[in-house]
């Protein structure tokens, strides 16, 4: 490997990486850290499924199960999906795609990674200190999180720290997109991935502080008992839920928008057509970001908020479906009469559209006030969420890995294996999560350790699905890791992409461009 890998700075070896301010190296640092935590999250999910394979205690006790589903949620959400695409691919490709040499604040960028790692270490530490692993679920709902004897303070503090990392990354990306675009890189020549990461960065800057203060108050509640969220002292738990979801709903868009950006990159390249409705795509990203920030109350339809509030939140929720629908429509229209080449990245992108559509449509059931009463807190919600976030963001991340792998590492992976891995993933995924939708419809509550006998067969099927899915993951990552060392050398532009990152060697040189590029055409104008 050459390019930025070879350029040794002041420090050598591992120090040359963990103290590097090069956005590409930081992107890779995030890649390995995030995939490491992903592996742990998958393992925890696997254990949960194993426990649920049969009614009654199978391999663990209820308290362990509570700790495991909490940990699965905290790790997957705060350590994997939220930082996932923006921190890995945003760091690596945002500057290159706009023709810059680095992000606006390279040192701040490195600091963000360190803060992320510190937060992650604290989260892990919370398992073994204090009263043991947290059992509250990833939402840390009061008043239970104030009463339980487990180590809530450290876990909450860890998430607070992770929020800092997210805010700093957001500030960096907004500033970079505004100030460091190459000559000729107008706003409407930006690749849609940049638009998506840009909109995401705004959400990160604007809503992460709200969960920051919420968690800080929860921490104070535990340590000194200020009483703000404690019903015993007059505090209002519903207020906690409001503040929590003011962040955590937009956080869902922090998870999905960058994924949509990735899909908008992959589809035009492998359909050899310019994206259908570029401006509609860009504006729908912004619309999702803006409207999505005002729908948090749909998590609280049965929590006791006023009917009027519920009706407004329900309406706004349905409104988000419009720009999301625009995007799905435009992706499909881009394929229409295109010269389609079904490469592994495109396969993952198409799967994204399929699974995300199921996830999105099942979401509308919950967004409707009456049906939500039936579906709330059931497996339906678990199924819906995994279809959107795993089927959506997860598969987009796999697609992004296969799309940008040759650019990032300068090597091409074995091209046949991803198809087999995809087949396992696709079958495993649907076997794992589709039964959950049915189970929820039938009334199986989420987060339960045990269940009635009539749910047994579907729970069993779901567990089998988890095995197939993990098989697919092992095959896919095995292939990528193998190719990292043994893969053939990749060309600068193996896919024939038109965006700037494909116009430079693979892997990119240290300063990205030999001379500042002059941009004269849009991102999807193929010659």
């Amino acid at each position: 490997m050459a390019g930025f890998y070879e350029d040794e700075g002041r420090l050598r070896g591992i120090l040359g990486w963990i103290f590097s301010t090069d956005h590409k190296r930081i992107g890779l640092l995030y890649l390995f850290a995030i995939l490491f935590f992903y592996a742990i999250g998958v393992l925890l999910g696997f254990l949960m499924r194993l426990e649920l394979m049969a009614p009654g205690p199978t391999i663990m006790r209820p308290q362990t199960y509570n700790a495991i589903f909490t940990l699965h949620g905290v790790i997957m959400i705060f350590l994997f999906v939220i930082p996932g695409i923006p921190s890995i691919f945003g760091n690596f490709f945002l500057p290159i795609q706009i023709g810059a040499t680095d992000v606006a604040f390279p040192r701040l960028n490195l600091l963000s990674w360190w803060i992320y790692m510190i937060g992650a270490v604290l989260a892990v530490l919370s398992l073994f200190t204090g009263g043991g692993p947290v059992d509250t679920g990833w939402t840390f709902y009061v008043p239970y999180s104030l009463r339980t004897s487990v180590n809530v303070p450290l876990a909450v503090f860890a998430v607070f720290i992770l929020g800092f990392s997210s805010i700093l990354t957001g500030i960096n990306f907004v500033t970079t997109t505004h100030q460091l675009r190459a000559p000729g890189m107008t706003w409407f020549r930006l690749p849609l991935f940049v638009w998506a990461v840009y909109a995401t960065a705004w959400i990160q800057v604007l809503v992460t502080p709200v969960i920051g203060i919420t968690l800080l108050l929860t921490l104070m509640e535990r340590l000194v008992g200020v009483g703000i969220f404690d019903p015993a002292k007059g505090g209002d738990p519903l207020l906690y839920q409001h503040l929590f979801w003011i962040y955590s709903h937009p956080a869902v868009y922090i998870m999905i928008l960058p994924a949509m950006g990735v899909i908008s990159e992959i589809i035009p390249v492998f359909a050899r057509r310019t994206i259908f409705g570029y401006k509609a795509m860009a504006f729908s990203i912004l619309a999702i970001a803006v409207v999505g920030s005002f729908v948090w109350g749909h998590h609280m339809f049965v929590s006791g908020q006023s009917d009027l509030a519920s009706i407004i939140f329900s309406l706004l929720t349905f409104l988000v479906a419009v720009p999301s629908g625009v995007k799905v429509f435009n992706w499909v229209s881009t394929l229409y009469k295109g010269s389609i080449e079904v490469t592994p990245p495109l396969l993952f992108a198409l799967t994204f559209i399929f699974l995300f559509s199921i996830g999105g449509l099942t979401g509308l059931f919950q967004g409707a006030l009456a049906t939500d009463v039936h579906l709330h807190d059931t497996y339906w919600v678990v199924g819906h969420f995994h279809y959107v976030i795993f089927g959506g963001t997860g598969f987009a991340l796999f697609g992004a890995l296969h799309y940008w792998f040759p650019k990032m590492f300068g090597r091409m992976y074995h091209k046949k294996i991803p198809y087999f891995a995809w087949a396992l993933l696709f079958v495993g995924f649907n076997t794992l999560y589709f039964p959950m939708l049915i189970l929820g419809w039938q009334g199986m509550p989420r987060r339960y350790f045990d269940y009635l006998p009539q749910f047994h067969s579907l729970q069993f099927v779901s567990t089998i699905g988890s095995w197939i899915l993990i098989g697919g993951l092992i095959l896919m990552f095995g292939n990528l890791i193998h190719s990292l060392f043994r893969g053939e050398k990749a060309e600068g532009n193996p896919w024939g992409g038109a965006t700037l990152e494909w116009q430079i060697p693979s892997p990119p040189p240290k300063e990205n461009f030999v001379e500042t590029p002059q941009v004269e055409r849009g991102p999807y104008e193929f010659r």
Binding site: A104, F105, L108, I167, G170, I171, N172, V174, T175, H178, Q179, L180, V205, L206, V207, T208, P209, V210, G212, I213, T214, L216, L217, M220, V224, G225, V226, G227, I228, K233, G234, G235, D236, L239, L243, I246
Partner: protein, 198 residues
């Protein structure tokens, strides 16, 4: 040209950071308005018991410190680093003065048994527990920001003294100034919220 570009980049980043700070306090302001609405009478009574002259003095101190901060930047721009240092020192002094007043204010409350989770406080009405919970949380978080500000100002002081920051490389001082003004503005909202609106 390059330098000018760098300035714009760094200033934009600073403003975004300040925006996130406003939202951090925003969460607290939301909670405060909800509880004020729910317990308006008790909030009114509790506000009466706060030391209004001391609060007013602290407001005056912070407002003055914003002026001295601006003057420090002004003089450094005009290459008069000694005057700049003087006003920077004054700003730090005013910040410390603010915190010491805050300390005495808190201490007198604590002395009367009014602090979070205090047995005396918990026997009183729910609204009062919430009022003081918010009072300590919000002025506490603000005080923490003043403390961080004093730290930043001290770093600036040393940097100007050593000539690392001068009229050409004034940006860190300007950004510190922006931060200091934000801390000031937040107090300008906190003061009427707790001391004046009754």
């Amino acid at each position: 040209m390059k330098n000018h570009k760098d300035n714009t980049v760094s200033t934009l980043g600073m403003w975004l950071f300040l925006l996130s700070e406003i939202l951090l306090f925003g969460g607290l302001f939301i909670i405060c308005s909800v509880y004020r609405y729910n317990h308006s009478r008790i909030f009114h009574l509790a506000a009466e018991s706060l030391n209004r002259p001391l609060g007013a003095l602290n407001t005056l101190i912070l407002l003055t410190s914003s002026l001295t901060m601006a003057l420090s930047i002004f003089f450094l721009k005009n290459r008069r680093s000694e005057r700049s240092l003087f006003f920077l020192f004054l700003t730090i002094f005013l910040g410390l003065f603010f915190l010491s007043n805050k300390y005495f204010e808190w201490a007198s409350k604590v002395h009367h048994g009014v602090y979070p989770n205090a047995p005396v406080l918990l026997e009183r009405e729910r609204g009062e527990v919430l009022f003081y919970g918010l009072y300590y949380s919000m002025t506490g978080l603000h005080g923490l920001h003043v403390l961080v500000g004093i730290g930043l100002l001290s770093v600036m002081f040393v940097s100007v003294l050593r000539g690392k920051i001068d009229h050409e490389r004034i940006l860190p001082l300007k950004n510190t100034g922006l931060y200091w003004h934000l801390v000031d503005i937040i107090w300008i909202f906190l003061f009427p919220l707790f001391y004046l609106i009754t």
